[in-house]
């Protein structure tokens, strides 16, 4: 089974986040970049399928600095990588569009992506790509229950702790939820092996822009409130706050 995995080189949301001086972007100096957490599960899932069924795993990254993440995927066990050195930033349409162009000559049975990225939380690239390629897709996949030559059966995570089982014809695209597996750590032996694996740069440009950032800002700091008074007054005030916020 030939699998394409989308892996984003994304900033850790726990890094130091500051708005840049243009007021429209994030100052990258405080950011720590690594593979997007959801994509880590996607690449692990792809490698496990390959280990069981054979085939090839090709990892695709978008962005001028995505090489470290692609190399990490190769070190984990992907066979080759495609780097698209264009910074599409916040525009998910552009990201999907350049991926579609870059993989047009690839033969694949399945595209795997993380459900969303840890920095932007759009959850759009996977589904946009599926639409552009006219592929059936399933999102928020929490388990792959069976795979054969013609179809794939997966569990999707729904709200409220429910799951839905769906069967998709192959080829198809799925976006995976975190926790679908336990991703392996990258070994030094794997890193050495990755050195000789192919990393191809495909220079494609997006054709349209679908998004313009007007302003970037940090949310106002929420302050804690100390409720004073005797216990009955405190209880009354507490109930009022909970009702106000629709919590009871």
């Amino acid at each position: 089974m030939n699998i394409i995995v989308l892996a984003k080189h994304a900033p850790d949301p726990e890094s130091e986040i500051n708005v840049a001086s243009d007021g429209k972007s994030v100052d990258e100096r405080g950011l720590v970049f690594d593979i997007n957490d959801w994509d880590r599960y996607a690449i692990e899932e792809a490698i496990r399928i390959k280990e069981e069924k054979g085939g090839e795993v090709v990892v695709v990254g978008v962005g001028s600095k995505c090489e470290d993440t692609l190399r990490k995927c190769l070190a984990m066990g992907a066979d080759r990588a495609i780097k698209i050195p264009v910074d599409t930033s916040l525009d998910a349409y552009q990201t999907a569009e350049v991926i579609k162009e870059a993989i047009k000559d690839e033969k694949f049975d399945l595209i795997l992506a993380g459900m969303m990225s840890q920095d932007l939380n759009n959850a759009q690239v996977g589904v946009l790509l599926a639409a552009m390629l006219d592929l059936p897709f399933a999102t928020a996949v929490s388990a792959i229950s069976s795979i054969d030559d013609n179809s794939l059966t997966v569990a999707r995570e729904l709200e409220g702790g429910y799951n839905e089982e769906v069967t998709l014809p192959i080829p198809c695209l799925i976006t995976v939820q975190s926790g679908i597996n336990e991703p392996r750590y990258v070994s030094i032996m794997g890193i050495k092996r990755a050195k000789t694996k192919e990393m191809k740069e495909v220079d494609v440009k997006p054709t349209i822009s679908t998004l313009e950032v007007e302003k970037m800002y940090l949310p106002p700091v929420k302050k804690a409130e100390l409720i004073e008074g005797d216990p009955s007054e405190i209880a009354e005030k507490l109930i009022e706050i909970l009702k106000d916020r629709g919590l009871v």
Partner: protein, 397 residues
């Protein structure tokens, strides 16, 4: 994930593979090992290196610079240094384990062992399947190993070993020990691989330590302990052999110490930016900034020393004196940063909830082992003057 301190873009001097090694080791340690440290240290219940060793082995963290044919990663010395830096950022006991396994147990087998010994032990040590320790220091001879009292006496195809080795990292849990002893017949120091359970070989832990409490250290006893000639390291003759192993471990320490210093700096920087006194963050006061800046400067210089020494090691050009300089300097940096960070954290600085006090206590061991700070001064003093100042005639009037 920890961003790292890189004021002089030292990262640019590393290859993308080396950076990837650092990130993957860092990620693994942050998720799997860091959460275990405080309790292990507080209760002086050493980490379970039998289990941790296997995980380190899977990642290729043991014997990183030894060739692949022996089940090792076959990486370079810079990579070994990076591993040491990352593990010591978490706790010095982890770096002790990595540096002892790689530099003091695997290295002598690789350099001085027979092909059979290499095939038999190196893959198992690399995978963490077995743990090794290194018996050089004795109760009466620390800085002066040349005066060692442990003896080896040839008896047919066997050697009879007698003596005591102390302050041995992982002594109590080791499956094999590299033991150094003087051949009573030719007076030369020779190395032996002694396996756990050998008759006459005992292993004990030393407890009630005020340092390195998350790791194990202990004593080895040899009483008419018989090992076969096959277990002698055939190519190790004389004191130079054990000293060359120390060079490997000292190199690892020079990177590791900067790891501990970086963690202390990061902790102090974050703390002083958050903590307010007299209505403003501590970091806004000149006295505090001066301390932070001094730490940053020392760490940055230490990072450059590590990198350059790593390159010299990879080119096979590093001298023992260059290694001494890096070990001495960088451990001093760690000692200074740990104490300064502890100070900047005020009363919270004495709590194990913050790392500096733990690093501060650990670094006292590092300052002393693998050549005390003073011994490295004498190594450097001899190098620049040509006059040795280790040993002198004591004139008693």
């Amino acid at each position: 994930m920890f961003k790292g301190i890189d004021f002089y873009n030292v990262d640019d001097l590393l290859s993308s593979e080396e950076r990837l090694v650092r990130n993957s080791v860092r990620e693994f340690l942050e998720k799997e090992i860091e959460p275990l440290i405080i309790d292990a240290w507080h209760e002086e219940k050493p980490l379970d290196f039998k289990e941790i060793g296997k995980k380190f082995g899977q990642l290729g963290m043991l014997g990183a610079f030894i060739p692949e044919e022996y089940g090792c990663p076959g990486a370079n010395y810079v990579t070994f240094g990076i591993i040491c830096q990352e593990v010591e950022r978490v706790d010095s006991a982890l770096r002790s384990f990595v540096a002892v396994t790689s530099g003091l147990v695997m290295y002598p087998i690789w350099q001085y062992g027979s092909e059979e010994q290499k095939q038999k032990y190196l893959p198992k040590l690399a995978s963490g399947e077995i743990i090794g320790c290194y018996g050089l220091t004795e109760p009466n001879h620390g800085s002066d190993p040349g005066s060692m009292e442990a003896t080896a006496k040839r008896d047919g195809d066997e050697w009879i070993l007698n003596g005591t080795k102390t302050w041995i990292t992982e002594a109590d849990i080791a499956d094999i020990a590299i033991v150094w002893a003087r051949d009573v017949d030719d007076g030369k120091i020779k190395g032996f691989i002694v396996e756990k359970g050998t008759k006459g070989f005992t292993q004990h832990a030393i407890t009630k330590k005020g340092s390195m409490r998350a790791g194990g250290v202990g004593e080895l006893g040899l009483v008419n302990c018989r090992v076969s000639e096959e277990n002698r390291l055939p190519n190790a003759v004389g004191l130079r052999a054990p000293l060359s192993c120390l060079d490997q471990a000292r190199y690892g320490i020079s990177w590791g110490a900067i790891g501990a210093a970086m963690d202390c700096f990061e902790t102090a920087l974050n703390y002083t930016k958050e903590r307010k006194q007299f209505g403003a963050p501590l970091a806004s006061y000149q006295l505090v900034q001066e301390k932070l800046v001094k730490m940053l400067i020392e760490i940055t210089k230490g990072q450059l020393l590590c990198w350059r020494l790593g390159k010299l090691m990879d080119e096979g050009k590093a001298t023992p004196e260059q290694i001494s300089l890096a070990k001495k300097n960088n451990v001093r940096v760690a000692r200074y940063c740990a104490r300064t960070a502890r100070e900047l954290l005020g009363a919270n600085g004495i709590s194990l909830d913050y790392s500096p006090i733990r690093h501060m206590a650990n670094i006292e061991s590092v300052y002393t082992y693998e050549g005390t700070d003073d011994i490295h001064t004498l190594i450097l003093g001899r190098a620049i003057t040509g006059i040795q100042a280790f040993r002198r005639e004591l004139i008693v009037k």
